[in-house]
Amino acid sequence: MLKKMSSVPYIVWMLLFVIVPLGIVVYFAFTTQDGGFTFDNIVQISKYTPVFVKSINLAVIATIVCFILAYPLSYLLSRASANYQRTMLMLVMIPMWMNFLLRTYGWMTLLENEGLINKVLEFFHLGPFQMINTPGAVVLGMVYNYLPFMILPLYSIMAKIDQSVIEAAQDLGCNSIMVIIKVLFPLSLPGIITGITMVFVPSVSTFIISRMLGGGQNMMIGDLIEQQFVGSAYNPYMGSALSLILMVIMLVVMGIMSSFDDDEMEGIVI
């Protein structure tokens, strides 16, 4: 009884602030200005295909870069001494204590043509390089902001992998590459899945990074949705339809990801 009672506040909270808003988004997505039912909002989205393509591409690139950076780091971290691990994790976390907007603003002043990096390069008679207002800068912003979300799940799963498993593989004649493919990779798969989801989902829906670092020329889905609600477009019906499509894309990605996940959980048990 007590158990049941104690879950009530959470259920009420979820209903009020998760389920109901989702319902409203779905309702708005299929409604016209006058309150009638329509598919028009969804159909109209095809006009924005380039924005979707761009967003997904940049998010995929950012996810891949995050993975390439985070995987070796997480492995080395999980094999280091306890003290070293604690310090390094702390260093990964520290930037997250500061507001996300401020950090992105910081990158803006670093990357500008008259910014710090170009000033330093100029001193060595190099450059100036065009860094800001490029898709690369947007990817950099995403990688910088979401890298910890890749490192943390990877690290926690790798810390659980027993060193003796790796030694056993080596004893049985695996070289380092085979150890990675046959042992490390399958065992760390759940962490990889979580990491990819946790980087891809916020990357694809990000909106302020592309405006600050992409110079507004690399419009993403998030920017488009923001414009529909508080920007000059003001069309919450269209905005809801866009949000709905974005959620469907994320659900599909997460669905594919979880098909890997289930299996590996069993793998660990075995």
Partner: protein, 390 residues
């Protein structure tokens, strides 16, 4: 424990002391007036200036002002329309006022409660957005022009064409806002910025797509940083904000293009169904008082629609060619009016198209397809393998 009790009793009595006399004395007529204004759009007591809200509360001790701010007209509109917020006084811009009037969202003002309205210049009465002037009282106005860095741009630009000049490739900024961007492009082409002619709009959109090759970025508030630091050479922006930037960086200058420009007016209105209409009108009247309006204008750097305040302005400001353009020039300018829903939507489509144009290459599509195919194959292979293992 005892100490704790004592402390809390003390605290309670202090709190009570603070509230009791006030509520006792004016309990009968204490009124809360909710004002919704643009961010940083009222003199707030910084740098020894007048704190307008405080002055108002001093003059009318029975009215307590609850002051909130918004960043865009649309944000304010969404809040009022959905009924999620109730306010007594709003400060929308021209086209938003005409939209709110047409949707019946505004209350007619009782001008007998606003005697200071007589101080408003005749040229600011009965404007396009409120042709009979029953709903709004102008607060500030301004124009859009080109701000440029004199160390990078040798000859002062005279026309909007400067924003398309390949000589300044990668040094030009542009409005990240469909109405302003399309508006000035229409002006450049010699059309009205309130046009609903699709062929003219399409032409403007083509022009904006061409501009992308010389553009550094689309910006709104980021412009302050970029112009002041010399990151960009040319940009269109609002005159009042240009003065702020020029104060930061003396190399900056501002011109009004010869084709004419957008003249915007921000005005005070009262939304439908307010509880304290009389107090709201009192507030509007107070905002028009010369010393109050002068303090606001000094803080904002925008232009005043009031005769008495205009007379108080420094010779320097009046003649700087920015704040108060000549009447002949103003002839060439027009104010945004609200466009029908379909036209607004059409403009949005054009805008999204402009911003996304040229950015999707064949390679991007191929990359996306490769990712989808790759992810799909990996999944299928993986699932098959898993099944085979069982």
């Amino acid at each position: 424990m005892k100490l704790l009790k004592k402390c809390s009793a003390l605290l309670a009595s202090v709190l009570l002391l603070g509230t009791v006399p006030l509520s006792h004395a004016e309990a009968a007529e204490q009124v809360e007036l909710r004002v919704y204004n643009w961010g940083e759009y009222i003199a707030n007591g910084e740098d020894g200036q007048l704190d307008v809200i405080e002055e108002f509360e001093k003059e009318y001790p029975n009215i307590k002002v609850n002051y909130n701010t918004y960043a865009t007209n649309e944000e304010m509109y969404a809040k009022i329309k959905s009924g999620s917020a109730q306010y007594d006084v709003l400060f929308p811009s021209d086209y938003m006022i005409s939209r709110m009037i047409s949707e019946g969202m505004l209350e007619k003002l009782d001008f007998s409660n606003i005697p200071n309205f007589s101080d408003i210049m005749d040229s600011f009465k009965n404007l396009e957005y409120d042709p009979t002037n029953e709903y709004s009282v102008p607060y500030t106005w301004g124009t859009v022009g080109i701000i440029y860095n004199t160390t990078m741009v040798e000859e002062a630009p005279t026309s909007w064409d400067a924003l398309w000049d390949p000589e300044y490739t990668n040094m030009i900024l542009m409005f990240d806002n469909s109405r302003d961007a399309l508006g000035l492009t229409l002006k450049k082409l010699g059309y009205s910025q309130n046009t609903t002619d699709h062929s003219q709009l399409d032409e403007a959109a083509e022009e904006l797509k061409k501009q992308k090759s010389v553009l550094q970025a689309y910006v709104m508030d980021e412009i302050f940083d970029k112009m002041e630091s010399g990151e960009a050479a040319l940009a269109p922006y609002y005159a009042g904000d240009a003065l702020t930037m020029m104060a930061e960086n003396p190399d900056l200058a501002f011109v009004l293009p010869e084709e004419g420009t957008n003249r915007f007016v921000d005005a005070m209105v009262i939304p439908k169904g307010v509880r304290h209409k009389k107090e709201a009108e009192l507030f509007i009247n107070f905002m028009l008082e010369t010393r109050i309006a002068a303090a606001n204008i000094e803080y904002l750097g925008y232009s005043t629609p009031q005769k008495s305040v205009y007379e108080l302005q420094d010779e320097e400001i009046i003649n700087n060619g920015i704040s108060y353009p000549s009447d002949e020039y103003l002839e060439k300018c027009d104010t945004f009016i609200n466009l029908p829903e379909e036209e607004n939507n059409y403009m949005q489509t054009l805008w999204a198209d402009i911003k996304a144009s040229g950015s999707t290459s064949v390679w991007e599509l191929i990359f996306l397809l490769a990712v989808i195919v790759g992810l799909g194959t990996v999944t299928i292979v993986y699932l098959r393998k898993r099944r085979a293992q069982r």
